[in-house]
Symmetry: C2
Subunit: 210 residues, 2 copies
């Protein structure tokens, strides 16, 4: 590969990483090229597909943080606390970084690294859930599949509320944790309830204009 091509690829990776974090994994490829300062033809030439581009940057974008969350969750003495920590942490990552949100949701099946990260995350979730269940801390019929589905909807919710009430997702997470806990502590959710206007705004964004 020629030196200038190498340089362009690097610029594209950088631009992609930026835009993925700002707007998620489905930003227009032409915009990535624009930010990188090259023609979109070059992007197609060097990477071919969006999935290939994702594969080259996604590890740095999400893998570390997800792995760390899982590790830390398992390091808690109390499996119940570890479980709660993990769910909140992952949701928080999703809320603060659209790229992570899309990674966890695991669209883009053609991106191998992404799917690998996804798989690792699910394995971690399984371990964290089972540990909590063995301790009798959470309901025994909750599965990692349920959790993934929750993460999937949380990704959308977090993105929809981002501009209006950036912490709104915490309430839903609190309700879920309460529902899963075998001995709920009935704590107050860690975010204020939304106003009618805020809900109105958010609803417009939920699957509305992305």
């Amino acid at each position: 590969m020629r030196a200038d091509a190498q340089r362009n690829a690097e610029k594209l990776r950088a631009a992609a990483a930026e835009l993925f974090q700002e707007r998620g994994l489905k930003v227009p490829l032409k915009e990535i090229a624009r930010r990188a300062g090259v023609s979109h033809g070059t992007l197609y030439n060097l990477f071919g597909t969006r999935e290939a581009l994702i594969d080259e940057v996604v590890t740095g974008l999400a893998a570390d943080r997800l792995d760390e969350a899982a590790e830390h969750a398992l390091s808690f003495e109390d499996p119940r606390e570890g479980f709660a920590y993990y769910i909140e942490k992952v949701c928080e990552l999703q809320a603060t970084d659209p790229a992570v949100a899309d990674v966890v949701s695991g669209r883009f099946p053609a991106a191998e690294c992404l799917m690998a990260i996804c798989g690792r995350a699910q394995d971690a979730a399984t371990r964290i859930i089972e540990r909590a269940q063995l301790a009798g801390a959470i309901r025994p019929d909750f599965t990692s599949e349920d959790l993934l589905l929750f993460f999937g909807t949380n990704a959308l919710l977090a993105r929809a509320v981002a501009d209006t009430a950036p912490d709104a997702w915490r309430r839903q997470v609190a309700f879920l944790l309460q529902g899963l806990d075998t001995a709920p502590a009935q704590e107050a959710p860690s975010a204020a309830p939304l106003t009618g206007q805020q809900v109105y705004d958010v609803m417009g964004r939920l699957a509305g204009t992305p």
Copy 2:
């Protein structure tokens, strides 16, 4: 208005109602015209905007069923049961009818009738929630705004799982109800857990290819 125009408007309303129920309120207008057997120009001529068309059919599509659900919920002796019934019923309506899902989510702010229905639904929700809270059945900090947000995400989830595991949303609802209840009964969710493959499929559809 000439008789043939009247007839065309009727055909368009019928086609719209059908397609809204099959695919939600954002089906392409040209497709509605095609199903009605008229040119899309006629649709624009007779209704002008998607919102106007929605306004003419949405009452028949959703209002009755939503009102009925609210009414029935309030007729329960036990406020806790009424509350649980209402949430499950609305989610079920969303799951079985994409039009209802979009109505409850209240996008399309320009559609007056739709927004009216939305408002009525929220009022009903408020009453049902407050009744349950007065009875001490559910946590006192849950608001109708929280519920609307939940409905919003449920709409997306229900649509995503429709082809793969049409009852999957019931598990999430069960977890929420458990989390809101002050004296949870720890019942089993009323749907089987998903398999990995099913989650994989669903994730692809969640905010993926609409």
